[in-house]
């Protein structure tokens, strides 16, 4: 069961979006986020929606994957919606029953801010759906590289992420094993209230921690034996190269931002 887990939500493919340089995708995603914040009206969201839809079609990922990405955040979105709806004041009342005052402006803001969240999540989903965690780590390391001059541990950060990714399946496997071993000895992980169940996790977590430390020690030894000496003078098997594709994507994203800014001027 634990063997077929996928890391992150990467949706493998060979579309132009998949083939883009991960650094460019990361940068453009950040620009897109800024763009979403610049949206002033529903017309702007319509543009953003069209834009996203176009990208998803090019990336050849089913649109429902983007909806799926929003799902875990539905409570935050609903919460934002309700908060805005009931606690904002405005001039044009819609509904006025007892303590409940609804105004037109509040309704507008509720929908507006909720949509902003939805678009933020969907946009970043495009990044994680089309970029493998390994590529993302690579991109982060290289984008943060210039900061190394100011003693920012870019290489170390990327190394930690890689190792974490590498060991997630291993540790899940081990958790499964320990859980079964403890259940065979009569441990009960499923019944009781929250506190009892949390307590039942102790015999699971302690061995897991102990073995993680042993693994860390082994891995450090193995890395040293293979000449690991930090990020200096290190080369990489896969080099990242910007191509025409990235230039085209950058231009398209610029176009999107310009449209959004114009929209802000016209409708804002």
């Amino acid at each position: 069961m634990l063997n077929d887990i996928t890391l992150g939500q990467y949706f493998p493919g060979t579309s132009p979006i998949h083939r883009m340089d991960p650094r460019m995708k990361l940068i453009l995603t950040i620009i897109y986020i800024v763009g979403v914040f610049l949206v002033k009206s529903f017309a702007g969201y319509a543009v953003a929606f069209l834009f996203l839809y176009l990208i998803v079609r090019i990336a050849e990922i089913p649109f429902k994957y983007l909806i799926k990405g929003v799902k875990p955040l539905r409570f935050i979105i609903i919460f934002t919606f309700l908060l805005n709806l009931f606690f904002l004041t405005g001039e044009t009342p819609l509904l006025d029953i007892g303590p409940v005052h609804l105004t037109r402006e509040a309704l507008f803001n509720a929908v507006y801010f909720s949509l902003r969240l939805v678009f933020l999540v969907m946009g970043t989903s495009v990044l994680t759906l089309t970029t493998s965690p390994v590529q993302l780590t690579d991109a982060l390391e290289r984008l943060l590289h210039p900061l190394q001059r100011f003693h920012f541990p870019a290489h170390e950060l990327a190394m930690m992420m890689t190792i974490a990714l590498r060991f997630i399946p291993t540790l899940l496997d081990e958790t499964d094993k320990i859980q079964k071993a403890q259940m065979a000895r009569g441990a009960d992980f499923e019944s009781g209230n929250l506190i009892q169940r949390a307590k039942a996790m102790i015999p699971l977590l302690v061995p897991l921690f102990v073995s993680s430390f042993r693994r860390a020690n082994d891995l450090a030894m193995a890395m040293e034996a293979r000449c690991y000496r930090g990020g200096d003078h290190r080369t990489r098997l896969r080099e990242l190269r910007y191509t025409r594709l990235d230039a085209v994507a950058a231009v398209v994203m610029c176009g999107f931002i310009v449209v959004i800014i114009l929209e802000g001027r016209i409708f804002g």
Binding site: T162, M221, A225, C227, R229, T235, R238
Partner: protein, 282 residues
């Protein structure tokens, strides 16, 4: 060329002593030994006999307290040479899960080369070569956690191989594998020894693995107790057993038969040899 000389020493340890911090006894005590070019050495010993510690002294993971370890002529105490020593003396560890660093097989094989600053184009060539030698080419793009134990160890060997080492040290690398995984790894290692002329040092519990080596060293209490060809070492059944180790099953059987008064060679190692001996009797 001196490099080509057959009697060249790959590892030369002289009176090596090492003690872990805060330990009361020396883990390795006055050990002297050598591994020549193309030689296949097995180090045996029960748990805590110092055999793994000795292995880590070969590639400067540990530095001897007294005595010297020369790896391909380089002193492991010289800080400047550490990385060259480790490039020449590859090491494969026990737990296949705890020595793979990257999330994709070929990237893990590339890890050592990346550390040494090898240009990307050459890394590509060398990892393809290394994966081919260990018969793992088709798994190059796979995630390590999808592989079997034997396959993971072969990836680890490829990672070492890509560095073009002169010696490969396997520190109980088959201990956690099932019989078929063990056979995979041992076959690979023997092939490397035979075809590429790489010196091999295996540290093992398995007598059957040790029996295939050119030389065997038996350690106990940090000291070398027995040394010689497997045939010579294992025929001393009493001593081997007194050191908490077993002898290969056929050697044990020959020993028992001799005790029962049957005149049979004491240094039988394999079933085939035993068959030959028994047939000779009648």
């Amino acid at each position: 060329m001196a490099e080509q000389r057959m009697d060249e020493d790959r590892i030369l340890a002289t009176d090596v002593t090492y003690r872990y911090p805060d330990a009361e006894r020396n883990a390795v005590d006055q050990v002297s030994m050598r591994v020549k070019r193309g030689e296949f050495l097995a180090i045996l010993g029960h748990n805590g006999s110092g055999k793994s510690t000795l292995a880590k002294l070969f590639n400067a993971l540990y530095v001897p307290e007294s005595g010297t370890v020369l790896m391909c002529g380089m002193d492991t105490r010289d800080d400047e040479l550490v990385f060259e020593i480790r490039q020449n003396a590859g090491m494969v560890f026990q737990n296949p899960d705890n020595q793979i660093v990257a999330t994709i097989v070929e990237e893990d094989v590339a890890f050592g080369l990346e550390n040494n600053g090898v240009p990307p184009a050459e890394i590509r060539v060398r990892i393809d070569e290394a994966l081919k030698i260990v018969n793992m080419s088709e798994y190059a793009r796979k995630a390590p956690h999808m592989l079997s134990g034997g396959q993971k160890q072969r990836v680890a060997i490829a990672g070492v191989l890509a560095m073009k080492p002169k010696v490969i040290v396997l520190d109980e690398s088959t201990a956690m594998l099932d019989p078929s995984g063990r056979a995979e790894v041992m076959n690979t290692v023997h092939r490397l020894n035979r075809d590429e002329g790489i010196s091999i040092v295996i540290i093992t519990h398995y007598m059957s693995e040790a029996a295939t080596a050119d030389y065997v060293i038996v350690m106990d209490d940090g000291k070398i107790r027995l040394t010689g060809t497997p045939r010579k070492v294992f025929s001393d059944v009493e001593t081997v057993r007194s050191l908490g180790l077993d002898v290969p099953p056929m050697t044990g059987l020959a020993h028992d038969l001799r005790h029962a008064g049957i005149d049979i060679r004491p240094d039988v190692l394999t079933v085939e040899e035993m068959v030959e001996e028994v047939c000779r009797l009648s």
